[in-house]
């Protein structure tokens, strides 16, 4: 099942690739249908997934290079399930949104997108470190071409910066993966299996280095301040669909890596390093907020808001409490929906006036009322207004962080305020006031296809905002397992609150997980 899920897009890509030249419409439809097929598989996976277990499910294991101990191993738990769902939802949306914007080399574009989907899904589902790395790196190549070929005026620079920056960090992870394998080998485990390596005892002194290498690779991807400088360029230059994928999914690969590998493999070191990472995360939250506010370019504004939001997610992860982790996971999904949505909104505007400068817009709401409603909802979701999805995640993160350190929570909460400020400010400048555009007749209302692009996002915004428990119920046990592992390894650390000792299943009916005693 998981194999089908991962490789359905590849099959789709192959089918699109052999289409005769010039059949742009066929390529679009075929690509879209392939991504819909993935969505159907993902929904079935979601339904079949058994909540309440922190174990990997639907595990597929085949020897890949048995001589070296590399396995083809896929599996899904509550954490990866949500990210797989997000991936499966975002790709059809991104493909559909590009039907208007991508007019050239449609076939190549569709192939790149579908290969990217395989790589992203594989990254989230791999249980073998080498397999994970293969997918992790395989993401870079299609993204490089997406930015470089269909991007904006500075696309060459942005594509190179993107691939060099992120690859420089991830090759160190490759060295760390090998070192981990070799270090665990004397203990009898010649394996790259994540689950077995989690149990391996590492030699004294090695773990911090390995943790640093893994975490650096993920921190660049997230991106954690001060490693974020590749992000604005990549985002701004990428085509809309590329920005959506980048924000909604690629950045999540970083935070997913934190959860799965940094915490999973090196819990003890993670506890020691948490203060540093928390500090960087909070700086990122505030810095991202302030810098967003100062952007004259709408797309750049959204890009920097990602730095802020992902800082919050990182905060939730390294606060190391169940609530905060749950919140972080949920916020990963939320950010995918709301920031993906914001990039789509920028794309809609850009398709009409071919400018991203905030100053070039004004009074759009009067010309495009339906669009204004969409923008409002997505913006409020990104600003974490109660009853939207953003609120639930942010609230859980701040709650969990508060129990870890009240001052940190207070600082991070200020990030929430910034996000309200810059989003409302941008909304006001773009949508309200007098019409500034020189060619207002080109600001035509969103058509049916564009509405269809946004509808699933709007539905998810309210669904998660009002009734998040199907997601929380499925992820809870896995999140709890992560926290338990960290606690077990880090016993004696005073600041870790014994959250997980409370009754299991506490979140089944409501938003809040088991309350601390």
């Amino acid at each position: 099942m998981l194999t089908w899920l991962v490789f359905t897009p590849t099959i789709g890509a192959a089918a699109v690739a052999v289409l005769p030249r010039g059949r742009a419409a066929a390529a679009r439809w075929l690509g879209w249908l392939a991504s819909l097929a993935v969505l159907i598989l993902a929904v079935r996976l979601f339904q079949a997934f058994v909540p309440g277990s922190g174990e990997m499910q639907f595990v597929v294991r085949r020897p890949w290079v048995p001589l070296v101990g590399i396995e083809y191993a896929l599996g899904v738990d509550g954490i990866s399930l949500l990210l797989v769902m997000l991936t499966a939802v975002i790709f059809p949306i991104a493909l559909l949104s590009s039907w208007g914007a991508i007019a050239e080399k449609v076939r190549e574009f569709t192939v790149a997108m579908l290969l990217l989907e395989t790589a992203v899904l594989g990254t989230f589902l791999s249980l073998d470190l080498v397999l994970f790395y293969v997918f992790w790196e395989a993401v870079l190549v299609p993204m490089y071409f997406l930015i470089g070929i269909w991007g904006g005026p500075q696309r060459t620079y942005a594509a190179n910066k993107f691939i060099l920056y992120t690859m420089a960090a991830s090759v160190l992870m490759l060295v760390a993966i090998i070192a981990l394998y070799l270090a665990a080998a004397p203990a009898g485990a010649r394996t790259f299996d994540l689950l077995r390596l989690q149990e391996a005892a590492l030699p004294e002194g090695l773990a911090p280095w390995l943790f640093a290498a893994f975490t650096l690779a993920f921190a660049v991807k997230v991106p954690l301040w001060p490693l974020h400088t590749w992000l604005p360029d990549a985002h701004v230059e990428a085509p809309t669909a590329g920005s959506v994928i980048l924000a909604a999914l690629l950045l999540k690969m970083g935070t997913y890596g934190f959860l799965r590998f940094s915490l999973g493999l090196f819990p003890q070191v993670a506890v020691d390093a948490a203060p540093l990472l928390l500090a960087l995360a909070v700086v990122g939250v505030i810095y991202g907020g302030i810098v967003s506010w100062a952007q004259p370019d709408l797309k750049r504004l959204v890009a920097f808001s990602s730095v802020s939001h992902l800082g919050l997610v990182t905060l939730g992860i390294f606060a190391l409490t169940t609530e905060a982790l749950q919140g972080a996971l949920l916020q990963m999904i939320n950010h995918g929906i709301s920031t993906g949505g914001l990039f789509l909104i920028v794309g809609v505007l850009y398709d009409r006036l071919h400018t991203r400068a905030i100053a070039d817009y004004g009074g759009v709401a009067a010309l495009m009322p339906r669009f204004a409603a969409i923008f409002t909802i997505v913006m409020l979701s990104s600003a974490a207004l109660p009853s939207t999805n953003g609120f639930v995640g942010e609230f859980l993160i701040l709650l969990g962080t508060f129990r870890r350190s009240p001052p940190l929570a207070a600082l991070a909460a200020s990030g929430a305020i910034f996000s309200v400020i810059y989003l409302l400010w941008a909304y006001q400048k773009v949508m309200q006031g007098p019409v500034v555009a020189k060619t207002p007749e080109r600001l035509v209302e969103v058509d049916a296809r564009e509405v269809l692009v946004f509808l699933p996002l709007l539905a998810l915004i309210f669904w998660i905002g009002l009734y998040p428990s199907p997601l929380l119920r499925r992820s809870e046990a896995s999140v709890r397992a992560v926290v338990q592992r960290v606690e077990r390894r880090a016993q004696g650390e005073l600041w870790l609150h014994p959250v997980t000792a409370s009754a299991p299943g506490g979140t089944a009916g409501g938003i809040l997980p088991a309350k601390a005693r």
Binding site: K105, V141, V175
Partner: protein, 478 residues
């Protein structure tokens, strides 16, 4: 060990030599009309030789230990034969277009292959030297094969002068090692050096290394490579980039981990330094190249550095990782050359990288194939280049040489920039026109084979890993 002559031990070599002479004779007897069959006959003959390598199998050392037929021989001879066969397919169309198709071209190509095969089987420094010369001299001539072209003549001359110079180093090293150990046999050398280092041995090994480093184009002995690569006819460049590496690395493998384990402490450091210098310089200089041939020249220098990691590790893992990477390198390099060979500009070789811009619009499959090769050369998954580098870096870490692995991965990042630039320009650049895709069935066949092999090695590396693994036995037997 006996002096009895068992010619079966050299059957593949005899086949290749006979084939070379037959090709030469055929051209003299059949004349211009018979030339069309030269390439197919060469390929078939090479296939027969490859079959004979398998048929002969593993044997005890022959000719008083001077000739070995072990797992390393088998693998490296197979690689040499494969590269010769693919190079033949690459050459035929080009030679016809340039009106260069002669029997001696194929004969020289086969003799060079023979040289690499002899190096792969050498159990004695003298045999190694014979192989080295048999490999080098045909390559000098091939580099100058476009007699009317000044650049080609210059390439041949330069290669010849610097090559003979380095051969002298090699030979002097052999003489000193003979003086130090009383024998030129590698096995005897291993025994003599088990006791440790003496000044005579040290100088001998150093001179030997210089000779081999020149052949493998390791920094700082690489200066000849870009000029020779640029001047030589394109299929010759492709062949040279692969077969010279096969020979040189076969020799390095024989000479260092297998013959001089006693001195591992010394040569491991030297080779590690050479490898790091090669990776750094090769990749950095490649960044600024505008000519496709020079880019591939520096790329092959950089890859010599990666290959050397496997030897510098000094372990069995390093050895089989190197051979695995050699196979991946063969396919991705010949693949990249086949793309270049399928293009021409006003009847000339398509050399400027900028002129590749926009080809993706007219020849999307060609551009896609180039993307596969470049992604593999850059060491990104899911390609053979990635798996090979993964093995090499694992070997370096396993041998306690993290610096080698770190330099290796970081220079790979650098290489991404210049490698991906090529397919990027092909897809994204504006079509400048003037570039035409030529019809060349042989080259196309190589292209398809190489794409399939590069991806297969990346997706299902198990089979080749299994195949190169017997090299471990050579280390265990010691």
């Amino acid at each position: 060990m006996s002096l009895a002559i068992d010619l079966r031990a050299v059957l593949p070599e005899m086949l290749v030599a006979a084939l070379a002479m037959a090709v030469l004779l055929w051209d003299a007897l059949a004349g211009a009309r018979g030339r069309r069959v030269l390439a197919p006959v060469t390929v078939l003959g090479l296939a027969a030789a490859a079959a004979s390598v398998l048929w002969v199998g593993l044997r005890p050392p022959a000719f008083a230990g001077a000739y070995l037929r072990d797992a390393a021989t088998q693998l490296l001879q197979g690689i040499a034969l494969l590269s010769a066969a693919l190079a033949t397919l690459l050459s035929a169309d080009y030679l016809r277009r340039a009106d260069l198709e002669r029997g001696e071209y194929y004969a020289l190509l086969l003799f060079a292959c023979l040289g690499a095969m002899v190096m792969a089987a050498a159990g004695d420094l003298i045999v190694l030297f014979l192989g080295l010369e048999t490999l080098s001299i045909p390559l000098y001539v091939l580099a100058a094969f476009r007699r009317g072209n000044v650049r080609s003549q210059e390439a041949g001359m330069k290669y010849f002068l610097l090559g003979s110079f380095s051969t002298a180093f090699f030979l002097y090293g052999v003489a000193l090692l003979y003086g130090a150990s009383g024998s030129t046999g590698l096995a005897a050398l291993a025994q003599a050096t088990a006791a440790g280092m003496t000044p005579l041995l040290g100088i001998g090994v150093a001179l030997l290394s210089i000779g081999l480093a020149f052949k493998a184009a390791l920094v700082p002995f690489h200066a000849w490579a870009p000029d020779v690569y640029e001047g030589a006819p394109l299929p010759v460049t492709a062949y040279m980039a692969v077969v010279a590496k096969v020979g040189a690395f076969a020799a390095v493998l024989r000479a260092f981990p297998l013959a001089l384990p006693g001195l591992a402490g010394q040569w491991m450091v030297v080779l590690a330094v050479l490898a790091m210098a090669t990776m750094v310089l090769g990749n950095l200089v490649a960044l600024v190249q505008r000519s496709m041939k020079r880019l591939l020249a520096y790329s092959s220098i950089a890859h010599a550095g990666y290959l050397l990691i496997g030897v510098a590790a000094g372990t069995a893992e390093g050895a089989w990782a190197m051979v695995f990477y050699l196979v991946a390198y063969l396919f991705m390099t010949l693949g990249a050359f086949s793309v270049v060979l399928l293009l021409q500009r006003a009847g000339e070789e398509a050399d400027l990288i900028e002129e590749y811009a926009g080809l993706g619009g007219r020849a999307p499959w060609l551009a896609a194939a180039m993307a596969v090769f470049m992604v593999s050369l850059a060491g990104l998954p899911p390609t053979g280049g990635f798996i090979g580098k993964f093995y090499l870096f694992s070997a370096a870490l396993g041998a306690g040489q993290p610096a080698l692995a770190l330099v290796g991965v970081l220079t790979s990042v650098v290489s991404v920039y210049y490698y991906l630039r090529v397919p990027y320009l092909m897809f994204a650049g504006r079509d400048v026109g003037g570039m035409e895709v030529v019809r060349a069935p042989g080259v196309r066949a190589v292209l398809v084979t190489a794409v399939a092999a590069v991806i297969l090695l990346g997706v299902l590396p198990g089979a080749l890993t299994q195949a190169v693994h017997p090299l471990v036995d050579l280390f265990g037997a010691r």
